[in-house]
């Protein structure tokens, strides 16, 4: 017996507009950020971007019980990125897989440069990112939310960290790939940056880009980051007032 699935709800037809969701090449998806959404965590943030729904929580600085991770002259910033089983079309088995282990690592690297870790020797700052719903670009959404959660926790930072992807889809270099564009597109370039100095704290790429396209995409992503950073600042302002 074979199972046929008809009328699937994934609309991947051949759209005639430049982008499936009618966005301009440099247009972000709808974005909403809220700080301070959880009670127990020291800091937290909720972010929606397109169909992505992401929660970030921060605990710390606090005592680090795993002695072999301890740093004598600074705090360790540890990250756990996790997808809820119901966040994707086919249920994801609970627990870390290779993808989430990698994303946790690069997220930690992306956030660390912005935090004054050296103020908290021998301790840990723990960042937990939960993807409640995924629609392309969850690693960037998680970093952007985590940075707001760090601020909400009152962790001293040099700058915010903000993340955004650019990429290539249907032959065009475009900003903030949706799930369909990510899956069917030619390249994906997620970056994170500190907006004040413009320094890049996360950089990954997969696909196929010429050197010129890479530069275009990089600059598009940098521009996207700057816009998103405005929303981060608003979220913090909404939480704490001017």
């Amino acid at each position: 017996m074979i199972i046929i699935i008809t009328n699937t709800n994934l609309n991947t037809g051949t759209e005639t507009s430049a982008r499936a969701d009618k966005r301009a090449f440099d247009e972000l998806r709808n974005l909403k950020i809220e700080a301070g959404v959880l009670e127990r965590a020291d800091g937290s943030a909720y972010l929606e971007m397109g169909g992505n729904k992401v929660l970030a929580a921060v605990y710390g600085p606090r005592e680090l019980f795993v002695r072999r991770l301890m740093q004598p002259n600074r705090a360790v910033l540890r990250c756990k990125y996790n997808m809820a089983p119901f966040s994707v079309d086919d249920r994801k088995r609970p627990g870390p897989d290779r993808r989430s282990v990698e994303i946790s690592k690069i997220t930690s690297d992306a956030l660390s440069p912005a935090v004054f870790l050296e103020k908290f020797p021998r301790s840990t700052i723990d960042v937990y990112i939960e993807v409640l719903e995924a629609e392309g670009g969850t690693r960037c959404a998680g970093i952007t939310a985590a940075s707001v959660a760090l601020a909400d926790a009152g962790i001293p930072m040099r700058d915010m960290v903000v993340a955004c992807a650019a990429g290539k889809s249907d032959g065009n270099v475009v900003l903030d790939l949706s799930e369909v564009e990510d899956k069917e597109g030619e390249a994906d370039l997620p970056i994170a940056m500190m907006p004040r100095t413009g320094e890049i704290t996360l950089l990954q790429m997969d696909g196929d880009l010429t050197e010129e396209e890479f530069q275009q995409a990089l600059d598009l992503a940098i521009g996207g980051c700057k816009k998103i950073n405005e929303e981060q600042k608003k979220a913090i302002k909404n939480r704490y007032g001017e």
Partner: protein, 263 residues
């Protein structure tokens, strides 16, 4: 990780209870504020966010087509999984489910299964071959006590919110019709009501502060007609027979009250 509660908090909470009071001003049989939203995750076939006080759980369902168990060839399958996320409390750790998480999963599952919330026989597609398997995943994101009542309330709401495609058999093939979605067949709205024993009293819907000093816990699952479908005692202090019988009566009223929060 063991969390040592300062003796002074223990004393103050206990003294309040002695005087018939609670730290947040509630009566012994009074729930905290409850909120319940459904349909919050579009990619989940059913979903809910439940809050009891500051406790918060996000729940999603994922129906899949699978093979029935050998001894129940015409019955669908419900799988309940709970994650006590490290974001929910400073002492929750990453890793495989610990005993508290396992107990929460199993008690929630038991209340829903024994309370016959879902009509699992209607989830059979081809007897002995294909049935719907419904994964019920609970994501505990904020922990301020009484996870069990929140877990069951939210799970029932998420199941009520769940839609699956209708199926037909054509030429020996199962055809899933996504244009004609149907709700999960819901039989019953069994809910759970939990009491904490503090200084000999059994008080409803314990907050975290109360859980940390309680001597025992009793959770009672009840169907709409007031029958008991599940019970679970926890904690290292005993309960006496009369107190148990008394809170069963209270649970009947309070689960009816909880039920008004369902859509």
């Amino acid at each position: 990780m063991v969390h040592i509660v300062p003796e002074i908090i223990k004393e103050s909470v206990t003294n309040l209870v002695k005087n018939g009071e609670r730290t947040d001003g509630r009566a012994f049989d009074e729930y905290r504020e409850i909120s319940l939203e459904t349909g919050i995750i579009e990619k989940a076939e059913g979903s809910a966010r439940v809050k009891i006080g500051k406790t918060q759980i996000v729940i999603g369902t994922k129906p899949q087509i699978g093979t029935p168990f050998g001894d129940t060839p015409n019955v669908g399958v419900l799988m309940t999984n709970t994650e006590l996320l490290p974001m929910a409390a400073p002492n929750f750790e990453s890793g495989p489910p610990d005993e508290n998480s396992v107990e929460l999963s199993r008690v929630t599952d038991r209340c829903i299964r024994e309370g016959k919330v879902v009509d699992l026989e209607k989830l059979c597609i081809v007897e002995g071959e294909k049935v719907w398997m419904v994964f019920l995943d609970l994501h505990v994101i904020d922990y301020d006590g009484n996870l069990m009542d929140a877990a069951v309330l939210g799970s029932v709401a998420a199941l009520m919110n769940t839609k699956i495609p209708t199926t037909k058999i054509e030429n020996d093939e199962i055809v899933l019709d996504y244009e004609n979605m149907m709700p999960l067949p819901i039989n019953e709205k069994a809910l759970m009501c939990t009491f904490a024993k503090i200084d000999g009293e059994l008080i409803i819907d314990p907050s975290l502060e109360e859980e940390e000093i309680m001597g025992a816990r009793l959770s009672i699952g009840m169907t709409e007609d007031g029958n008991i479908c599940a019970m679970q005692k926890g904690g290292a202090q005993p309960l006496d027979r009369e107190k148990i019988l008394k809170v069963v009566s209270i649970a009947k009223m309070k689960t009816a009250e909880l039920r008004t929060h369902l859509p």
